[in-house]
Amino acid sequence: MALISTILALRKDARILKLPPYLSALCILVGVVWLLVLPLNEYSRNTYVSENALLPGQVHTYFTGSEHNIFRAYRHEVAALADKSVPDRNQRLSEILRSSNLKVATQKYSYATSGRNISNENVYAILQGPRADATEAIVLIAAWTNMDGEINHSGVALVLTLARYFKRWSLWSKDIIFLISGDSTSGPQAWVDAYHDSHSPDTIEPLSIKSGALQGAIAIDYPAGPWGHRYDKLHVVYDGVNGQLPNLDLFNTAVSVASGQMGIGCTLQRMWKHDDSYKERLQTMLRGMISQGLGHASGPHSSFIPYHVDAITLQTVGDGWHDEMSLGRTVESLFRSLNNLLEHLHQSFFFYLLLQANRFVSIGTYLPSAMLIAVNFSITSIALWVASGRAGKLPNPASTAPPSTPGEKSTSSPSKTTPMTLAEKDGALALIPTELLQTTERALFLPLAFVLATHFLGLLPLYIFNNTPSTYLSPVFNLVALLTSLLPFLTSFGLKQFSRPTAQETTLIQCFSLLLLGMFLAALATLNFSLSFLIGIATSPLTFVRRSNNKAISAVASLLLAVLNPVVVIRAATFFFGQDLVKVLVQAAEGWHVWGLWTQVVVWLVWWPAWFAGSVVASEGLFA
């Protein structure tokens, strides 16, 4: 009891309100350090294949010999199609697939985004498993052009050769679908949407033939021309749209087959050189987080993951001594493993950060990092709520020190005599500061209206960026950058004209804004850890911004926040990573319309309102 009463007494202590900023800072610090220790051996684990049925690399592969001659011929055929129109190309590809006795169909699709029209055609063939019952299928994809826009010569030729080769086997327990999509992102998306009948039938053709439930998908990206190119390593791309990841078992199987059975090194996140040092592990992890945070499609496989179809892309990189047949055998072995599956992939992890090809951190270990950063906003928000309920600075009645130090600027009157009230209870008398007995009313209307309006205001740039033609994107972006940078100052100047907000209202604005931010980020951390973490870091200064009557402090804070404007951050990030801004914006719009990308929703409806509210609070001091 004694402990409880001590804590209750502490609640009234003014010093308790001083604690939250330090607590928040501690949360941020621990959150960041937590992430930095993850690459250490003590906090990460070696990968392992969890699903027993997969048995990676346990079968002999026979994709050699005369298949190589046929592959070379198909590669020449593909090269001859490079300049042909889409219908001519697909007609020839259909012919080749049909000559392997497969069921072939095509699918036209077109999307309109950013004033452009993406239209192309997919061609796909179904190998009906000789003894299968059409209830399950696995997909082998080769996009006609890869993510860099190069023609996937050898990849398409390899799929054609493998289709012919797989047809001879009788052991398939699932159907195999060979998909040659028109491009790497919208083509697979149109196909997988239509497969699950969630496409818009006006612009996307439905699939004329279908098979059973998709159990996995492997994409091949091997853009070597008609004379081939020997590669050094396989780059395994695994990021899905919105940062969703495939089951770790699929990734592990691919790595285990490629490196264990075929002796091909595996790499990820464009880390061409990886010596397994701390720095490289951290770099791999951070690259993975940025890619996950952006949530863009990273290959033909990305579109499959939202439908709970585990998928990866195998990309050949470097100059080495591995040839197309070793890639073919890798795919063969991988398909033999997937063919063994008795259930949908579910055993292993769906949430992980990879440090190198066979080392990972699981969600239980890394999640606290983003959660701590999200919690820091909630702590500050609660502290601000409590602060808003207190009239002003009260001297500690028990304190023997003078009630206010001379240097401190206090909103309450600095008079030495505090008005006191005499209270009587059960015959006992007590002197209590009058202010403590008065209830402070919170003026909720303006803060709530302001925060809600800010969040709805975010819809405007969201709409503009998703629907502006690509030619106008650059000026529109600059205009939005200018407007959003000026808007906080204009807003606080405008509000000052009505001599609002009061100090309490300012505190409440910040309180609600941070409360929402903390809630959103905590929820987001469970869905897309990386995005939540990155936004949490970018918004962390908002915790420490307070309304100040000092113009210099206000100016510095406003300037600092102006740099952290999401629009400015995006501009700086594209500059830093050497990306073309318009291209990024076009991709984002394509993501919104085609892939169902949610990143811009988070940016404009979570990050930007929080930043805006913080900036308004900071700039109020300028017009005080």
């Binding site: 049925a53 010999g65 209830t135 699950h196 259930e343 579910h346």
Partner: protein, 584 residues
């Protein structure tokens, strides 16, 4: 000696038994495109109704006969199937689809009973007995998997008293048909796979086929005046063999890449070189023979077949007349040409191996395959754990005739369709194609959904049927104990009403089965939770129970010495009683 004995037996049978009590077998081979061969085995044995009633079994197997008598089953249809019939390449189905079932096991029967309860009880008897006979899980056909179709199935036999006949139908789409089902199937035959065409049936090849179905049909057949009734049992095995795959030796079944010398390259291609080869389609019909593709030789005629007439030519092959066919046998055989030489039938030698050899041959004419009256495909749309939709696409390829058919859907109870979302659209007309609906909703854990639709498709049109459904959450004991990929939904059955079939068997088409993934809990997690909570409960309960029940007394309060033993206990109790009364 043996053959002469068999001859005597056959002649004796023909002399004594009525014309209907005979045995007939036939194998029809038909090469299909893409170097495949359709082999249709057909065995028919008759038993007069009189002999059957008196349990006098001759060709009719006693094991099955007694089951039918015990379960009062008047007509029985049992199907074991595997794989898919590729209607686009292979054309019309053998027997117009009347002798095939959906993937897995399908059983329907007309049972004689006074009321529905009795019929169902007899049906359970039947399924349990057949389950033992055919080594299949037929006993799992319970009330939830049984339906009573109204329009889809018609009796094939002649039933004098059809008012108290009950039709029951059950499917096991997940049942994997394998060798253990073939062995009892062969044992029902009079020659038991030792002679005649049944000697070709080998489990390895049969179950490596691209599509195969085994069927058993028992029906009463009567003469035109309703007399001379006989019970006819028909057993068929239809399989589509991939010639290349079947020809691979059993000890080396791996399809290794051929040596490059054996691949026909397209030398007209500019890039053709020693290391680059564009493979040409094999335009020639592949070479094959019976021994190679069935894995064992045909061991002469079954001695029970007729000596003369149609039944004496049990092996037939349907090829263009120009196809070279050589016969390899040490015994005597006869060849008969039918249907303007496109069908060649052979009378088998007795006691000597018989083989047909078809060499590789470049053909100028091909066989014309009859086009199927309908194409049907069915799939599950949507994704997620909660709901989905089923889409059936039925196409009428005929440009002149509308097709009327019945569509039967039997869904498990945990797949709950919303009938108000049922939409049937025809792409060429706005008219509603559904003419009649029979619907019996599911009852949780009691019975499944039964939906029958009578529909009409105009010529060269496509009918799309969709409906939404919701997935139920099962109790944890209702999940299968081992690894599973989801639950199988039985194939839809389509029966054509118009155009009608020429015989009374009907024209049937079955779609493929569907895979229904249900929300599956991570079973290890509740296990962990149970273990953890049990431990916590045990620790907490122990401590709290101790605190509550145990009386803590100071050491000086404990009475010592003299008042021990039984006397002390009684005194203690008395004192407590007195204290209670005083307080009260």
């Amino acid at each position: 000696m043996l053959s002469s004995l068999a001859f005597l037996l056959v002649t004796a049978l023909i002399a004594c038994a009525s014309a209907s009590s005979d045995y007939y077998e036939r194998l029809l081979l038909r090469p299909l495109p893409q170097s495949t061969v359709l082999a249709s085995f057909n065995f028919r044995s008759n038993e007069s109704a009189d002999a059957f009633e008196h349990q006098n079994f001759r060709y009719f197997p006693r094991s099955l006969g007694q089951i039918l008598q015990h379960a009062r089953t008047k007509e029985l249809h049992l199907r074991f199937s595997l794989g898919r019939w590729d209607a686009e390449s292979w054309g019309q189905r053998p027997w117009n689809g009347a002798r095939e079932g959906g993937t897995g096991v399908e059983l329907w029967a007309w049972v004689e009973a006074q009321n529905e309860e009795e019929a169902f009880a007899r049906w359970l008897t039947l399924t349990n007995a057949l389950s033992g006979l055919f080594c299949a899980s037929l006993n799992f056909i319970d009330a939830t998997k049984t339906i009573r179709p109204v329009m889809t199935f018609q009796p094939e036999g002649h039933h004098a008293n059809s008012s108290n006949l009950h039709l029951l139908h059950g499917t096991l789409p997940h049942e994997v048909v394998c060798t253990e089902n073939l062995t009892p199937f062969l044992k029902l035959l009079p020659c038991k796979g030792k002679a005649g065409i049944s000697s070709l049936l080998d489990g390895h090849k049969l179950f490596d086929a691209s599509w195969q179905t085994m069927s058993i049909d028992v029906r009463p057949m009567c003469g035109p005046d309703g007399r001379d009734c006989a019970l006819e049992m028909e057993q068929t095995v239809d399989m589509v063999l991939d010639v290349d795959r079947s020809k691979r030796p059993r000890d080396n079944p791996i399809p290794r890449p051929l040596p490059i010398e054996e691949i026909e390259c397209d030398t007209t291609k500019g890039y053709n070189a020693g290391d680059t080869c564009y493979p040409l389609d094999k335009s020639a019909e592949p070479a094959w023979n019976l021994t190679e593709i069935f894995g064992r030789p045909l061991k002469g005629a079954c001695p029970l077949t007729d000596e003369t007439g149609e039944g004496s030519y049990p092996v037939c092959i349907n090829t263009p007349p120009e196809r070279t066919i050589e016969v390899n046998t040490t015994g005597q055989y006869e060849e008969a040409k039918l249907a303007s030489d496109t069908v060649r039938c052979y009378k088998l030698p007795t006691g000597a191996d018989f083989d047909l050899i078809l060499p590789q041959q470049r053909m100028t004419t091909g066989l014309i395959l009859a086009s199927p009256q309908l194409f049907a495909a069915r799939s599950i749309n949507g994704h997620g754990q909660e709901r989905g939709s089923v889409q059936a696409v039925i196409k009428n390829p005929s440009s002149t005739h509308a097709v009327e058919f019945v569509y039967l859907e039997a869904l498990p109870w945990f797949m709950k369709p919303y009938l108000h979302t049922l939409r049937a659209r025809v792409d060429t007309s706005r008219e509603n194609p559904v003419k009649e609906t029979y619907y019996r909703p599911a009852v949780d854990r009691k019975r499944g959904t039964h939906l029958e639709l009578r529909m009409v498709i105009p010529p060269s049109s496509t009918l799309t049927l969709t409906y939404d459904f919701e997935k139920a959450i099962l109790r944890y004991t209702e999940y299968p104990p081992d690894a599973n990929r989801g639950f199988d939904v039985a194939p839809a059955v389509i029966r054509l009403i118009n155009p009608q079939s020429v015989d009374n068997k009907g024209i049937y088409i079955r779609t493929t089965s569907l895979l229904l993934p249900l929300p599956t809990p991570d079973f290890s997690m509740p296990y962990n939770v149970i273990i953890l909570t049990s431990t916590v409960m045990a620790l907490g309960f122990g401590n709290i129970f101790n605190l509550l029940v145990r009386r803590f007394v100071g050491i000086d309060e404990v009475q010592t010495g003299d008042a021990g033993g039984l006397q002390g206990v009684i005194r203690g109790k008395l004192e407590r009683l007195i204290a209670i009364f005083k307080r009260g």
